[in-house]
């Protein structure tokens, strides 16, 4: 196969001195699916933004279709046939699919009276939809579509512009497990149409399912480009983090008889949770699996006391939690890791110290009225060292300056520092890299070893199977299945998650 893109010693140093890319050289062949993998901060996004003309490299040379390539603006890259689907969708919510797809080139459908011929526009979009065998209509409004369909619209937008080089930035991060499979098949369809696909992902399983070749980045440098058959998941994972650690995980057995939390017949006032009952034992990690939107968020909010119950009972060591607010529940010994660190788990504009003391300050750790600054500082420092949070020297910098993985480690560290009787963790490793994920998982294991219980709500089935002693599958707010380690069966769980069984 011919090469379509070649990068030669591409470097990028940001004005603040961060070296995001250091002399990265690799090439992409025409018609292949080329995966780019690496931890958070490895330089994947920087590289893709350079290819799409959003930022300029500091040095190095890029050749695209055998001519020198230095786009000053994404429109130039689009003109050359490069398309990018961003992790965060860029769609106008209030208008239709066809209007979004055509947006920016709607002049094509203007008649002599400068009126847009909508019928013609819809027809042209519909023909592309048909070619791609998608199940959306050009008349659908974006705001009414589920996430997976919105993503299809993004891809439609790219393909409509006669793109032959498509960059997909973490496309499966937003999809449910059963949607991922469809999506991967769809990517292969695109490849069959003769397009070249560059696929960025954290999830090695997907990478191995579809990629022809894999390029690995680590901290801004190129580790190498490999044919899929030359490598396996273990070796890729180790190349990504640069150590030879064992990344296989399995649940530990610290189970005790004592029941910590007993939940009976939960029904919340929004009506999503329907008659949910379970027991959490000391030393147990209990996983809640399910496709997003089947009651996971409600379960978290009910446990946190933000969502009221219309019926049901929750007891922590035989005393009821129902009447307690969040503070009361924290005092009773529950800690919370929320699924959205930026919106609910941290105050991004405030300092690392202020963020790490939040909540703990209610327990007199830093004085009764006056804040003991040195205690606060050393407390923050202990979290940072224990959880390998990579910050600068200055603990007064705002948390938003940290990378996502480091924010998450800070958040996890803060919650585990309570030594809680029960830890409720929702999507604890969403969007963090392999090393941080391992560290967070190990901290959960250590906590359960001390006799605490962990409720793990996660959309990442692999994570649950790596950690949990028991899995409850949520489907439409009900517990439809329960399995204990080691009798886990991915296909079986998948059936329950998608409602085929249960």
């Amino acid at each position: 196969m011919l090469q379509i893109l070649a990068c030669d010693k591409v470097s990028k140093t940001y004005p603040n001195g961060l070296e995001a890319l250091k002399e990265v050289s690799f090439e992409v062949k025409k018609g292949e699916i080329h995966a780019i993998v690496g931890e958070n901060g490895a330089g994947k996004s920087t590289l893709m933004n350079i290819l799409f003309g959003m930022i300029k490299p500091s040095s190095g040379e890029i050749r695209f279709k055998n001519s020198l390539f230095s786009p000053k603006h994404p429109s130039e890259a689009i003109g050359l046939g490069i398309g990018m689907v961003h992790q965060h969708f860029k769609l106008v919510q209030s208008i239709t699919v066809a209007e979004n797809v055509v947006l920016g080139m709607e002049n094509r459908f203007q008649n002599k009276m400068r009126k847009i011929d909508r019928a013609e526009m819809n027809r042209s979009v519909a023909s592309l939809i048909e070619k791609l065998k998608m199940s959306i209509s050009p008349d659908d409004k974006i705001e009414n579509l589920p996430i997976s369909k919105k993503q299809q619209v993004e891809i439609l937008k790219v393909l409509y512009r006669d793109t032959d080089f498509i960059i997909l930035d973490e496309p499966t991060a937003v999809l449910a497990p059963n949607e991922v499979e469809d999506f991967l098949e769809f990517v292969m369809e695109i490849q069959k149409m003769g397009k070249t696909v560059v696929f960025i992902s954290h999830r090695l399983g997907e990478v191995f399912a579809i990629a022809d070749r894999i390029t690995i980045l680590r901290r801004g440098t190129l580790v190498g480009t490999y044919e899929k058959k030359e490598v396996d998941r273990e070796s890729i994972a180790n190349m990504m983090i640069g150590t030879d650690t064992d990344l296989t995980e399995h649940p530990e057995d610290f189970l005790k008889e004592e029941v910590l939390l007993s939940v009976e017949g939960l029904v919340d006032i929004s009506g999503v949770l329907r008659d949910l009952s379970f027991k959490l034992h000391a030393g147990e990690i209990l996983g809640f699996a399910g496709v997003g939107g089947n009651g996971q968020e409600e379960l978290f909010e009910v446990l946190a006391g933000n969502l009221k119950l219309s019926s049901g009972e929750m007891e922590l060591r035989d005393s009821s939690l129902v009447q307690l607010d969040t503070l009361g529940r924290r005092r009773a010994g529950i800690a919370y890791i929320t699924d959205d660190r930026m919106k609910k788990g941290l105050a991004p504009d405030r300092s690392i110290i202020e963020n790490s003391m939040a909540g703990h300050h209610k327990f007199g750790s830093f004085g009764k009225a006056l804040i003991d600054k040195s205690k606060a500082r050393s407390f923050a420092r202990s979290i940072i060292t224990d959880y390998d949070v990579r910050t600068g020297k200055n603990l007064n910098t705002a948390v938003k300056a940290l990378s996502g993985g480091n924010m998450q480690k800070l958040l996890v560290g803060r919650e585990i520092a309570y030594n809680p009787a029960i830890l409720v963790a929702s999507q604890p490793t969403a969007g963090v890299d392999v090393a941080a994920r391992k560290l967070i998982h190990d901290s959960f294991r250590k906590l359960s070893e001390t006799g605490s219980g962990v409720i793990l709500i996660s959309g990442d089935l692999e994570e649950i199977m790596d950690l949990a002693n028991r899995i409850i599958v949520l489907y439409r707010g009900r517990a439809v299945a329960e399995m204990s380690y080691p009798d886990y069966d991915t296909t079986e769980i998948g059936y329950y998650m998608t409602g085929i069984r249960g």
Binding site: Y14, P15, N16, L18, A304, N306, D325, T326, L327, R330, R331, Y336, T338, K343, K344, G345, L346, A347, P348, D349, R350, S351, I353, E354, M357, A358, G359, H361, K362, F366, G367, K368, A369, L370, I371, K373, A376, L395, N396, T397, A398, K400
Partner: protein
Amino acid sequence: MFSVRALSMRKIILSLLLVTCILSVWALIIWFGGESPVKGFLYILDGSLGNHYQLLSTLNKMVPLILAAAAVAVPAWTGMWNIGGEGQLLLGAFGAVLIGFSVDFGVGLVNIVVALIVSAAFGMAWAAWPAVFKIKLRMDEVVTTLMGNYIAAQLIAYLINKPFRDPRSPLAQTPYVKSSYVIPYLFEGSQFSATFFVAVSVIIILFVFRRRLLTGYEFEMTGSNAVFAELSGIRVTKMKLLSMLIGGALAGLAGGLLVLGMTQRVMQSFSPGYGFTGLLICLLAFNEPLLILGIAFLFSVLQTGSVNLQLFTSVPAEISGVLQAIMVLFVAAFKTFMVGRRDG
């Protein structure tokens, strides 16, 4: 408490540019008014800081400005907007008068303290209902506190016209407070009194409160991210209510100090818009107590100095309002550059 500091070259240059912009537009305005800008500035400085009478007058003028700005700042820490400083100040002033002409505890200091507490309580009451409406009914506090100003103004107008009108006076005003309630002037020929030190102490207390007290920390967390604060066990609605009550009390205190330290009664157009000037000062000071002190000083210099400007030139004293407004506009514009954008 632990402030997020990032002093970059960029920020220093922008700050200098900001000051240059403000000064040059000021110069232009004074020049349009028919005076050479350099002379104009000198008249303003001379009129506000030229001798110790003028300096004392400038400092005295700061008192209501400082407290009215603090009345906006404290609720802003928890993310609440208190636009009702004007009304709270009026109510507070009326509270002080009400006690001041009707009750006497025998000891002057006790009288003054009681009257100030009552004025703070009146201001607090006027801030309480918008806060409760916000928390219970989710009514936007910007609207309720703002409208509260007009209700308070009409209410006071009624009270000083009808039930509490001084019968011997041809004007609509209350009787004077008893002499034991008057906070004495400290210097011959100046209205400067201990009220200034009360205001400065309030600022120092607020500074310590915000940086060093756990409640101050909880205020800050509530304002920065309320969902997060709630999940951390901070009682967010309680914090918001409390901050609003403190804000109202501070505005009420401003009114009380004005009565006891200067006017000794409440009359028609008692406040020339202290509440709104306070709001501007607070915006310019980014809710930071120590900065409030500085900006209030600047505003006070402009106000007292512009009287002097009018005296010796053809430029009217109202120019101070224009100069203040220019400052607000530029700071608002520069804030986007300095805070709104992230590097990298």
